[in-house]
Symmetry: C2
Subunit: 313 residues, 2 copies
């Protein structure tokens, strides 16, 4: 019997899931509430798959496309599905409505996963039939080139659902990480938030220009973080490892961090300066579109370098 | 007339500078206060150059080694040098002593740059003869594979010194960024600090395991940051660019960051947990040495992918 996966929402994230699941051999059923979205998504997936094929990360774009079915209703998409991944617009009302519909339309054994990136999962999974099968599996854009997935269970999610979802995503070549406790924004966006907050603050203080701030990451810190996390980076930077690093540099970092950091709203002249730099670098819609293609091309090259020549390995 | 560069201190950082300057064609004079350091440094440089040669990032290790002279005194090293790069131990007393000695031993036209990573430059450059030629050029380890250099002038540094140093480092293939105002820890370590601080806090709260925290970077955020800074990442993640991103997600991030964040010392059980994970992953000194080789190999692969096949391009 073929494994059937249903994807609800065919935006950027839904398309990434479609390619990953089709690449792993599943039958992929795609539904979007907007009938016009499917045509757009299909064209975008075809473009992406051609790029993957010409990069030899997949053998045949046609074979993957053949495993995708574009459905006219949520009910027809989920019929017989073992796993559903919801990737609709980030709105509590939209997610709650979809999840309640999914709860009614699926058998109790079907896992219901959400790509939600910020709304606490309890807020839209509470009223779902058999809610022990619901959890968040939060990917990053584009999912077929960035393997991380944050697994965020609710207090009702069963151990079986967590383990089966992790195993399923690992089989795609993704790297799920488990968020043990409710925390606003999960983990990745919290790490991103403190960097953006400090970066804007440094531009606001006139310490550094926006372009140079970005270089500090892309030509400095980011080169290590592309293949090692912050803890391993510290561990390799002191003769006796992580703990020695903390002991040796702890005072320096505490002085740097200060004793308190009040909220620093992302507003004002610094925001205008950064925007002005970006628009000088990327003036037209066409420039931006080109730069997005460049980004995805770089991510593909990194995927091949860091994880091997095939999609999902 | 050949360009002469003097390097004071032959540790990890000094060795990186030696390879970069020799690769750019300068005569490199190396001095270390510890007579045993030179032999160790020379052997390490030979290893590094062999790796670069076999990776075809340089043509000839021998040619670069031939441009390096190992000196028995600071005075003989700086004789005739147009540029001096100090990379001694991070101690105020050591740096102050070296800079005062450099001030006396060099002509007023010689640029005196420090690799210092944290001590405010005014604290050890104030008493140097012709202090307008002194500044910090803070590299990252290993400098021959990580191009970023933070340029930190003092209030006395001349415009000419700043511009000439930036031009000199760009000619090596490095990417200098200018720090306009005194700020404790400069910029890169401030960005690193807020990530480490949040990462330790999330482990302490039991939100995520140390290994998974590191994956959030190496298999998520870090993949983008390897080639784009945080501002460009935001810019490409909203249809109308950076400012739209800030408007759209500002409230989410402000809620996440909270209204105040008191100091969170890097101590206690979370530190033990992270250390325990690292030692389980890398138990012996030999394991750690292997892992450092792996890191440098990865950085070399990234350098080739992101900046081209030759050292310093």
């Amino acid at each position: 019997m073929r494994d059937v996966v249903a994807l609800i929402g065919s935006g950027l994230i839904g398309r990434g899931w479609a390619m990953l699941f089709a690449n792993a051999g599943s039958d992929v059923r795609i539904y979007d509430v907007d009938p016009a979205a499917n045509d757009k998504a299909r064209a975008a997936i075809e473009d992406n798959l051609r790029a993957l094929e010409s990069g030899r990360m997949i053998d045949s774009a046609a074979a993957l496309l053949e495993r995708m079915t574009w459905c006219a209703s949520l009910e027809s998409a989920v019929d017989g599905a073992a796993y559903v991944q919801e990737s609709v617009f980030e709105s509590l009302e939209a997610k709650r409505a979809v999840f309640e519909q999914l709860g009614r339309a699926t058998s109790p054994q079907t896992t219901l996963a959400s790509s939600g990136s910020g709304i606490p999962p309890e807020d839209f999974m509470a009223g779902v039939q058999h809610r022990e099968r619901c959890l968040i599996a939060h990917p990053f854009s584009p999912p077929h080139l960035i393997p991380l997935v944050e697994i965020v269970p609710t207090r009702w999610t069963s151990e079986h659902t967590i383990k089966a979802t992790i195993a399923r995503l690992e089989a795609l070549g993704q790297r799920p990480v488990l968020i043990h406790k409710p925390v606003f924004g999960f983990v990745v966006n919290r790490l991103q938030a403190v960097v953006i907050d400090e970066a804007i603050s440094l531009v606001r203080q006139g310490v550094i220009d926006p372009a140079d701030l970005d270089l500090c990451m892309s030509h400095g810190l980011g080169l290590r973080w592309a293949f090692m996390g912050p803890f391993e980076t510290m561990d390799l930077n002191a003769a006796r490892g992580f703990k020695e690093y903390v002991t040796k540099y702890g005072d320096f970092y505490q002085t740097l961090l200060g004793t308190e950091r009040p909220a620093r709203p992302w507003t004002g002249e610094a925001i205008e300066r950064i925007e002005a730099w970006r628009r000088a670098a990327c003036a037209t819609e066409g420039d931006v579109a080109q730069r997005r293609l460049w980004r995805d091309g770089m991510l593909m090259k990194l995927a091949r370098l860091l994880r091997g020549p095939r999609l999902g390995r």
